[in-house]
Structure formats: structure tokens, C-alpha cells
């Protein structure tokens, strides 16, 4: 009789992972229940910092969900074989992260029970309302795209579906960037640079998540990734990281050039306490410079260092989003330029924010939803990349 003990232990591991994910998701549900019952007063958010930690998690997941599809697009739209083999996994990750991100975003609402109102009373001028369509459209499109890949009879529509997804995700991330770009009154936002910046950031973050998951799946199946493929993909990650660094630099440099924005930039980049620290150490050093070193330094750039680089890019993403979202709101709104102002409503003051445990529980709950969807799908369907023996392109 064949020895099934290895298989059994893998089985057990799968259920342990599932239980762990479920537990974290349950923690998120508990946070939602508590915030519904007591109100947002138990979160760290307030009338000055109206979007907090949940939005950092949600926006990361949504932006990465769009970016991870890059792998699929390079395969389907530009016809590169090694990417095409990875398109199903990329699509799965996109759906998983979109689900997690949207869950966090919706469950953080003051009245999540009324979410259907967003569909029944649609405001055409609201970029949030556009995003409702963009997110649900993306969801359906990616499912169709997966279908055209995994069902042989649907293969003929694969190219068309791939093109549609390619276009849709650009519009989707534009929509995410526009949420902030349309806020004209706030110094941190209201810049046309934000949509393209979010698109380039999505490339890097999505690919980083993809690398991590791919490495785990290969390890699970006791396979090793072809070094030639790893080499190409890590170079792509490096290019994306450099690209996003460029966009972030352009955003801050344009701000620095406008005299009325200098105070805000000084706050974010130099004087703002934890925000400059998070920006320079968290985003620039940990999220960019060290990953680039791990990718490009001679002798590095192997499996482990690419994995480490990818994890650091994800960490850097959280640091950048925290600075962008929380720091952007913490800096006082300029209502009376040229005046020193004070009031009972924190006018003219740096707003304070202490994220509460519930916000983290909710955020990690979103990550857990993405994790569960990925783990179960990878187990029941075949998402393992199937490379051809010879790479033609």
C-alpha cells in the first residue's frame, strides 16, 4: 500500500491554515459587530481623521487587486507565454483581494446595513458611486476571464476577455486615484498625478503579492520555479518599484514647488513626527531601496531574496498609504490662508489619531478573506502555473 502519510499531513495543514484564516476573519466580524453596536467612537477615527486604518488596508487590497492582473495582461494581451501560464493565479488573487478590500470598505461604513442604497440611489457625479460600478464590473469581468482560461471551449474568447480586463483595471485604478484627486480643498490630495501614481503603484504591489503567493504554492507542491522565469519576473518587479518611486517623487516635488503647498510637504517629509519616519524609513528604505538591493545586487536575486523583496514592497505599501491617508488628513485644512487659526474643532492644529484594535481586526479580517478565497481555490481548482518546457519569448 502506498504511503499516504505525507498526503494526510498536507491535508491537515490545509485545514489548519483554513481555521487560522477563519479565526482572523472572525476577529474582523467581531470588530464590525462592536463598531456597529457602540459606534465609531471605539475606533481611533474622529471628525478630523475620518478615514483611518481600515481604509489603509482596503485601499492596499483594491490597488493590489488591480495590479496583480498585470501578470495576466502581459500574458493575454502581449502574448508572453510565462505570464500566460500565470494568468489564472493572477486572476484568482485579484478576485480574492478585491473581495477582502471591498469587505473592509463596506463594513467600515457608519451604516453598512444600508449598502443597497448605494445601488438604488445612484449619484452620477460621485466618484464613489462610479467605483461601485467599476468594482462590481471588475469582479464579473475577471470571473468571465477565468472562465475563458479554465474552460477549454471558452478559450477562443480568452483574448477578448483579457483585453477587456486590461482596459477595465486601468479605469478602475484611475477611479481609486480619483477618490483623492477630486478633493480640491485638501492640500494632500487634489492632484491629477494621483490616478497615474496609483496605477504604477498597483503594478509593484500586485506583482509583489503575486511573487509571495507563487513562492508558497511552488513550495506546497514541492516544485521549484525555473530560475530563468524568476529572473525575468524579479526584473519586472524592480522596474515597477523604480517606476512607482518616480511617481511618488514627482508628486512630492510638484507639491514642493507650489509655495502654498510647502508647509504641507515640510510636515509630511520633515517635521510631522511619525509621518516622515514612516515615509523615509518605511516606504523609501524598507519599501524601495532594500527591495531594489535584494533584486539587483550581484549574488542576490535568488528565490529567497525575491521573496523578501516582495514582502518588503508590501510593507512599504502600507507605510506609504498610512502617510498618504492619515498624514494627509492630519495636516490642518487651509480654510483661512494667511491667518493663524484656533477653535474647539482642531482648526489650525495637527489632528491626532491612534488606531484602535478594532480597526486592525477589521483590516486583518479583510486580508483573511483574501487568504481564505485563495487557499480554498488553489486547493480545489488547478491554479498551479503550467510552464511549457521551452520558453519561446
Amino acid at each position: 500500500m502506498a504511503d499516504l502519510s505525507a498526503l494526510r499531513s498536507m491535508n491537515r495543514l490545509f485545514y489548519v491554515l483554513l481555521a487560522l484564516g477563519g479565526l482572523v476573519a472572525l476577529g474582523g466580524a467581531y470588530a464590525v459587530f462592536m463598531m456597529e453596536h457602540h459606534g465609531h467612537v471605539i475606533s481611533g477615527m474622529n471628525n478630523q481623521i475620518v478615514w483611518g486604518m481600515p481604509h489603509v488596508f482596503a485601499i492596499f487590497l483594491i490597488v493590489a487587486a488591480s495590479g496583480v492582473l498585470n501578470v495576466a495582461s502581459i500574458g493575454s494581451v502581449f502574448g508572453k507565454a510565462i505570464y500566460k501560464a500565470r494568468a489564472p493565479l493572477a486572476s484568482l488573487l485579484s478576485i480574492a483581494m478585491l473581495s477582502g478590500g471591498l469587505a473592509v470598505l463596506m463594513l467600515d461604513l457608519g451604516r453598512p446595513d444600508r449598502i443597497i442604497v448605494a445601488a438604488t440611489n445612484y449619484n452620477l457625479t460621485s466618484v464613489f458611486a462610479w467605483n461601485v460600478v467599476l468594482y462590481s464590473g471588475m469582479f464579473s469581468l475577471v470571473i468571465v476571464y477565468l472562465w475563458t482560461m479554465m474552460e477549454r471551449r471558452m478559450n477562443i474568447f480568452n483574448k477578448a476577455a483579457g483585453l477587456a480586463v486590461f482596459a477595465w483595471r486601468f479605469i478602475l485604478t484611475t477611479g481609486t486615484g480619483l477618490i483623492f484627486a477630486f478633493l480640491t480643498a485638501r492640500q494632500a490630495y487634489g492632484s491629477a498625478l494621483l490616478p497615474p501614481m496609483f496605477i504604477v503603484l498597483s503594478f509593484a504591489w500586485g506583482l509583489a503579492v503575486f511573487h509571495v503567493v507563487q513562492a508558497v504554492i511552488y513550495a506546497w507542491n514541492e516544485k521549484t520555479l525555473d530560475p530563468a522565469i524568476l529572473h525575468r519576473k524579479k526584473n519586472l518587479l524592480g522596474v515597477f518599484v523604480i517606476g512607482s518611486l518616480y511617481m511618488v517623487a514627482a508628486y512630492h516635488l510638484t507639491n514642493l514647488y507650489f509655495a502654498h503647498q510647502t508647509a504641507f510637504e515640510n510636515f509630511i517629509l520633515r517635521d510631522g513626527g511619525m509621518f516622515p519616519n514612516l515615509f523615509w524609513w518605511g516606504y523609501i528604505v524598507i519599501g524601495n531601496l532594500i527591495p531594489l538591493l535584494l533584486i539587483y545586487a550581484p549574488g542576490l536575486g535568488k528565490n529567497k531574496s525575491v521573496m523578501a523583496a516582495s514582502l518588503l514592497v508590501v510593507l512599504g505599501a502600507f507605510a506609504l498609504l498610512y502617510v498618504f491617508i492619515i498624514g494627509g488628513q492630519a495636516f490642518p485644512l487651509s480654510i483661512f490662508p494667511g491667518y493663524e487659526v484656533s477653535s474647539s474643532f482642531a482648526d489650525g492644529q495637527i489632528a491626532s489619531y491612534q488606531p484602535s484594535l478594532y480597526e486592525f481586526l477589521l483590516g486583518f479580517g479583510g486580508l483573511a478573506i483574501a487568504f481564505i478565497i485563495t487557499t480554498v481555490s488553489v486547493r480545489v481548482l488547478n491554479f498551479m502555473p503550467q510552464d511549457k518546457p521551452y520558453i519561446s519569448d
Binding site: R114, I115, T125, Q329, I335
Partner: protein
């Protein structure tokens, strides 16, 4: 006339009487609740002219009146709603000190209405910007979009609400220009409470109104006029 017919008439009479008795109080209450059934007119543009030279530093009468009228706690924690607040300004160049009340500016082109995904933020025909508390899903995008920080989110369960001003945990709210008072022909609570008459309320469109004449005769400004929102609240002496 047959016996049956008489009985039927009697039955119908009694039923009609009972129905009238049953419905009448409801109709009465409906009348009381709805009061003025006339729709807001777009010929009217409600607004305020605030004379900052008459606004006393440290005086909080308008804020207190607003809190009382609208059932706010008056707390000033970071999570407490504040519909109106006093801002003390100091000109960085000259050091001149000014004090003024700040609230929803009731813009003609309100950013909060633009960004609201569910049309819960809306502008009434007479220029009053309001939140439909039944429609608000609590996304707080309007708070991000408002250039005046005029809006607050209800972070806690509420008690002892004013029946005229229903509020709700998990929704966003702001100065309603005391719309419930305006609809009864009264002026907003803050304007009424100001001893120095620093807050002049009225119809900006009505050529005979005091506010219209004053806006024509004295220099007034809109806050963040560069955003071209055409606010309904104007300031004099800034």
C-alpha cells in the same frame, strides 16, 4: 322599507363614524408633523451675512443656541459633532485678531453633494444644503470633500433627541440652517441668539430683504472664494 335595508343603513353609518374617529387623530398628527406643506422655492436663496467686527472674542452664544436647538451634547471631544464653531483668527502679517462663527456655508455648488454616492447630501431648492439621514450610509466622503470642515460624523448612540431634528448614529450631519425653524417662518437659532446681531439671516435673492441690501452696500467675502463654490454664508470685516 324592509327591515334588512334599515339595518344595512345603520351599519354603514356606524362604520363611517368609526372610520372617521379612527383616522381623524392620524390626519391631525400628520398635519402637525408636516406643518408647512409648501415646497421650497428656487426663487429663494437663504443665506447669512456675518459681521465679524460685531462678533465678540470668547463669546459662544451662537454655538450654545445651536447645540440646544439641534439637541447636540455641546461636547468638544474629537468625536463629538459640532455644527457651528467659533474660530479665532490672527493675521500673520499684522497681528490683527478676528473672531467668527464657522458652519456649513450652504454652497451653490457644494462639493459634499457632488461626492455623495447615494444622494444623501443634497441641496434644497432654496439653497439649504442638507443630509438625508435615511439615505446616508456613513462613508464620510463628504467630510473629506468639504473645504470648511463643516460636517461631523455621529460616533456614538444618541439620546434625548429633539423631535424636530432627527439624527442618527453612523451618519453624517451638519448645520441645516435650522431648516425646521425656517419652514415655520423663524430665523436660525444662532442668528436669534447673537446679542450683537452679528449674524444677519435672510433671502439673498429678495431685493427688499435686509441681507440683500447689506450685501450690496458693504464689502463682504466668501471663505475660500478661490474654489468658486458661491457660498450662501458671507463674512463682513475680514
Amino acid at each position: 322599507m324592509s327591515d334588512i335595508n334599515t339595518q344595512r343603513r345603520q351599519f354603514l353609518k356606524t362604520s363611517a363614524g368609526a372610520a372617521a374617529v379612527a383616522i381623524a387623530p392620524g390626519m391631525l398628527l400628520y398635519q402637525v408633523a408636516h406643518g408647512n406643506t409648501q415646497a421650497a422655492s428656487s426663487k429663494v436663496r437663504w443665506g447669512m451675512l456675518i459681521d465679524t467686527t460685531q462678533c465678540k472674542e470668547g463669546c459662544n452664544d451662537c454655538v450654545g443656541a445651536c447645540n440646544k436647538e439641534n439637541g447636540l451634547s455641546g461636547g468638544t471631544k474629537a468625536t463629538d459633532p459640532q455644527w457651528i464653531r467659533k474660530i479665532e483668527l490672527k493675521d500673520i502679517g499684522s497681528g490683527r485678531v478676528t473672531s467668527l462663527p464657522m458652519m456649513c456655508q450652504h454652497c451653490e455648488h457644494p462639493p459634499c453633494v457632488d461626492v455623495c454616492p447615494t444622494q444623501a447630501s443634497f441641496k434644497r431648492a432654496d439653497g439649504i444644503v442638507l443630509v438625508d439621514r435615511h439615505r446616508c450610509i456613513g462613508c464620510r466622503y463628504c467630510m473629506m470633500a468639504c473645504p470648511y470642515k463643516a460636517r461631523s460624523f455621529v460616533h456614538e448612540p444618541l439620546e434625548n433627541q429633539n423631535p424636530d431634528v432627527p439624527r442618527g448614529k453612523g451618519t453624517v450631519e451638519a448645520c441645516s440652517l435650522c431648516v425646521h425653524r425656517i419652514d415655520k417662518g423663524q430665523i436660525p437659532a444662532c442668528a436669534e441668539a447673537c446679542e450683537n446681531k452679528a449674524i444677519l439671516f435672510g433671502d439673498l435673492n429678495d431685493a427688499n430683504s435686509e441681507i440683500h441690501k447689506k450685501v450690496r452696500s458693504v464689502a463682504s467675502v466668501q471663505i475660500r472664494a478661490d474654489l468658486q463654490l458661491n457660498t450662501g454664508v458671507r463674512y463682513q470685516g475680514l
